[in-house]
Structures are given as C-alpha cells and as structure tokens.
Symmetry: C2
Subunit: 167 residues, 2 copies
DNA sequence: CCTACCAATGGTGAATTGCAACTGGTTGCA
DNA sequence: TGCAACCAGTTGCAATTCACCATTGGTAGG
C-alpha cells in the first residue's frame, strides 16, 4: 500500500475514499451493528456480502475496527470500533450536517444528523465516551444521559410522527 | 443517478465517496488552483488528465463548482467553488485534523491542517468569507487579515525551517 | 510560421464493483 | 437424532471504473 502524498486530507481519503467504508462505520457507530449478518441485512443501502467482507477486513488491517469471537455463539464474530474510528464522530457529524443541508436527505434519516449537529462538540464528546464504553470496555462517567439513546429516541419519535400525520 | 438511501451521510458519500473529488476541491480551496493545467501539474498526488476531466464535469453537474471561460485567454477555463463546496471547509478541517492525528502525515503538509484545527469555527468562517470573495465575487469585511495568507505563510515558514534545520 | 500551451479525448489493460449462488460449520428445536 | 435456519464468509462472472499514455484541434506568443 503505497501512499500518494503525506497530506492529511489525502491520507484520510486513502482510508475512507470509497463508497462503503464510512457506511460500515456509520452503521456500527449509530446503529450499534456489531455482527456480520446484522450489518449485511439491516443496511439501508444494500451492501453486498463480498464487499462487506472486504471492507471489514481492510478496516481491521488499518486499525479502525477490531474483530473478536463472540463468546455467546461459537460462529459469531463481534466487530468493535477502535479509538481512531471513534474519533471520526466529529467528521461524520459535519458530513451529515453538510449532506442534510445540500442534498435531498429524507426527513426521518435527517433527524439524527440534526441532533448531532445541534449538540455540538459537547454532545460529540459524550457520544464518544459512550462508544468507548460499548466498544472498548472503558467505563464512562455515571449519571449522564445516554447520547446514543437520545439519537435513537429522536429517530423513533420522528418515525412515529410520520406514521400518524393526522392533526 | 439513483440514490441508495436518504441518509445525509450516505448522500455525502455518493458525492464525495471516491479518491479524487475531494482532492480536487482541496486544491481549489487551499491551493487556489482554478485552471485545468494547474490542477493537473501541481497535484501532489498525480491525478491523470482524464480523471481530472471527469471529476470536474461531475462536480459541475452536481453544483459543487462552476466552469466559466477565462476572459484573459480564450482557451482557458476558470473553475470556481460554488457555495456548497465552500461550506465543506469544516468537513475538510476535521478530516485533516483526523488524518494528522491517526495517519503518517508529513510534517510540512500538516502545518495547515494544524492551523485550521486550532483556528476553529471562527477561523473557518473567516476563510469561507474569503472563498466567497475569491470564487463568488462577494465582498468580505474590510480590514480583516486573510485566512488564506495565514495558511500559506504557515506552510512557507515550515518549508523554510525544513531547508535550514541547523540550530 | 513555428513552437509551446490549452482543455480535453481516445485506447488499453488492470483493478474494482455489484450481483447471485454457494460453502462448511453451528445452532435451536422437535 | 434429524433437520431447517443461520453463521461468516467464498466463488464466479459480468459490468463498470481506473490508471496510464499518446494524441487532438484550437490558441498564444515570438
């Protein structure tokens, strides 16, 4: 793997400059999808199994995620975000905010991006601490409301609103 | 052009999920490269001419950049950033900050990313106003130091330091 | 008039992608 | 014990995209 240049933006693009790598990380991060079959089946975008395999392998090699056997099930494998991927939260927040503003994003899928944007760095830090707990086993401060739950509830609320549009 | 899903992050990736589109925008934005030959020759990463053509065309179609004849040379074409691309400044700032931290970025090319990161939203806004002046012809507030110049000078200073490493 | 330069094209082989069928092994349940 | 469903991938193949290199018609300057 030769690199094209030492520019930080270019290096980031050499890691994430394709259509699927960040999608996988997004699903692991915001959808808490940690198993192969869940990532494969619940993908909004319909990733193919061979593409998913190659992306997971590549992300493991690059140190963005880790792959461990799932103790509850001999055949299952648990994928976890590594620290570098967790630190992508601000990047994804800005990318989502940009896409929401400039591209035809659907209402229900924009809610989380909006909350993530409005929350700002404080919310991102809270979310990252939570990811560190979920994926790295690092305990987070107690008594703090879950950022993941907030995102999830905002999404569910919007879904409910769309199914009952009557005033 | 069908879209895979209405997720803002996915939509952003459908626009920039390749190895070259953001490189072109980076060069236009931070290198002030507005002509085809300059983008082709001064690229650190060595983009091929047909790839550059296709990316420029695509970015024009997507409304990210505009293409106008250069009045000074009948044959030359001037490429300008449109407002959506200008609003990528925070995304690129975060992407550069992340790459600088987690990938083997070269010292001299990291200086600008560092300055951009330290400057924060206030610096980004200043830079975006400057891009609007350069690319859209919208005057910016007077008497404010040029963010572009600061970035350029930081880079030049670092280059000079590397060529004279003697204490 | 001649050379260099301009934004792009065209040809080619290689690499990547997308899709579907399929693998060997495991699990839960009857 | 038998068996269907499920597990994380593999494999084969066609289509697309990519990267590299040579070349285009038109323009500018001396």
């Amino acid at each position: 793997m030769e690199q094209r240049s030492g520019c930080p933006i270019n290096l980031s693009l050499e890691v994430f400059g394709d259509k699927w790598s960040l999608i996988v990380i997004r699903d692991m991060m915001f959808g808490n999808r940690r198993h192969f079959n869940v990532l494969l089946a619940n993908s909004n975008e319909g990733i193919a199994s061979n593409i998913l395999v190659s992306r997971l392998q590549r992300l493991v090699e690059l140190g963005m995620i880790t792959r461990t056997p799932d103790p509850s099930h001999k055949q299952k494998v648990l994928y976890s975000l590594a620290e570098p991927a967790i630190q992508l939260v601000p990047v994804l927040a800005h990318l989502g905010a940009w896409g929401r503003r400039h591209l035809p994003a659907s209402r229900e899928l924009s809610v989380r991006a909006e909350l993530l944007e409005r929350g700002g760095p404080a919310f991102w830090d809270r979310f990252m601490d939570e990811l560190r707990e979920q994926h790295l086993g690092i305990p987070r401060p107690e008594g703090i409301r879950s950022a993941f739950d907030e995102l999830h509830e905002a999404y569910q609320t919007e879904l409910a609103r769309m199914n009952e549009p009557s005033a």
